[in-house]
Symmetry: C2
Subunit: 248 residues, 2 copies
Amino acid sequence: MDATHQFTTAILIRKLESSFTLTSDERQALETLPMQITAIKEGQDIVRQGDRPSRSCLILSGFTCTYKMTGDGKRQIHNFQIPGDIPDLQSLHLKVLDNSLGTITPCSVGFITHEDLHKLCKRHYRIASAFWRETLIDGAVFREWMTSIGQREAYPRIAHLMCEMLERLRAVGLVNGYSCEFPITQSEIADALGITPVHVNRVVKAMRADGLIELKGERLNIPDWETLKKAGDFDPTYLHLESHQAAA
Amino acid sequence: MDATHQFTTAILIRKLESSFTLTSDERQALETLPMQITAIKEGQDIVRQGDRPSRSCLILSGFTCTYKMTGDGKRQIHNFQIPGDIPDLQSLHLKVLDNSLGTITPCSVGFITHEDLHKLCKRHYRIASAFWRETLIDGAVFREWMTSIGQREAYPRIAHLMCEMLERLRAVGLVNGYSCEFPITQSEIADALGITPVHVNRVVKAMRADGLIELKGERLNIPDWETLKKAGDFDPTYLHLESHQAAA
DNA sequence: CGAGGTGTTGACGATGCTCAAGGGGAGTGG
DNA sequence: CCACTCCCCTTGAGCATCGTCAACACCTCG
């Protein structure tokens, strides 16, 4: 196990430890988990709808998104992933991918074979549970997004997304105060929220005018968190961040 | 084990066997799984957003839906469940429920404690995998619905839902030809697809006029499956019905 | 310095929403 | 057995959020 590898599994270990304390046995199993580290440029697909992958990938750095194309060429983005996420963990039990996974920014990812994951899960029930739990949280995020897209208007929808991204980035230590990296273009926001890029632009303009967000380049700053939360009808329960409940 | 109980676990066993063949050991573990059978009237909540349930429920008969309320009182239905589904299996690993579960019709459900489920999963890796897989399919359905709501117009959105329900009901043997029970009201369709009941009504009217569906009382009949599929941009891959792939 | 992606803005139009009212069927109670 | 009620379905008219089309500014990068 070289130093680089230990560093990469650390992000996974830290994530799991937010739920429970690992035994030394479990910790060692994770530390020695074989992983193939790969750098991927922005705007590339990692896996595609219809693929039958034999491995899953852990995001080490960068942003990705999962998405699906409709018959007439429209794109729905289902989620954005940030470091620590495993966007295609589902493929461990679902043979054929029903969505694609692409990079938003240049990324470093670690591929883990399904064989190794199965071995790990079979031996360590709590780790299996933790992985299962991760996929359940993905599902919870899908439900919340569906609710946003189906029931909320464009303004709260965008506000909600900003809130979610900040909270998730905070959970992995990528937030300073109320400011974070936000490399997602307005077109991507549009595809994620079921609105057009033009309309995203207008709404973002209004949000800026209302003093809710500062969005420039690839940075997002939130001057008034409470108001943004309210505007976005944001309740972080669905993210199931243990630290939240612990803090509360 | 009384006769009634054996009958109830049968639906679960049949479902799992669509993925793989159970060993006699696994089969016995499932057959003896303690389950508390309960009848529930229509329009009742089984569990609610914010609850911390210690058991999950298997739908034995009837239709249910999972949903979530927004801050301003709108409802998003995330999925409809049919016999054989376990709508709140997620609560096995997520302490606090972030959505509610209610009945659409009178239902018979079987409650299984999380303790028993954990025991079962810990001992039988393949059963654990099958349950995990079920929750992953839920996630796949969420993604597809999100895509529908975000990218498709009302007409294909409704067509898509009809296609999905028919295919899922077919998989559990509840379809005759292209005709099935469909006890979902237009208001519920509206809450599921992010449109208003009034507009659902108009679109259903158009679909009837186009000869795509016959919807009367609690029955749905599809005279022209291929055209409906096309109109709904429906590709059943996301349902991950093994039988499909086997047949193809 | 040109090119291409991203952000920005205007004018117009359409899908779908709101409000409102009435019809039909199933269950209930007198 | 009939009236009453409630829920669901249905339809019309007007309106609003958001989409489409189009043009231009800005920035990064080769």
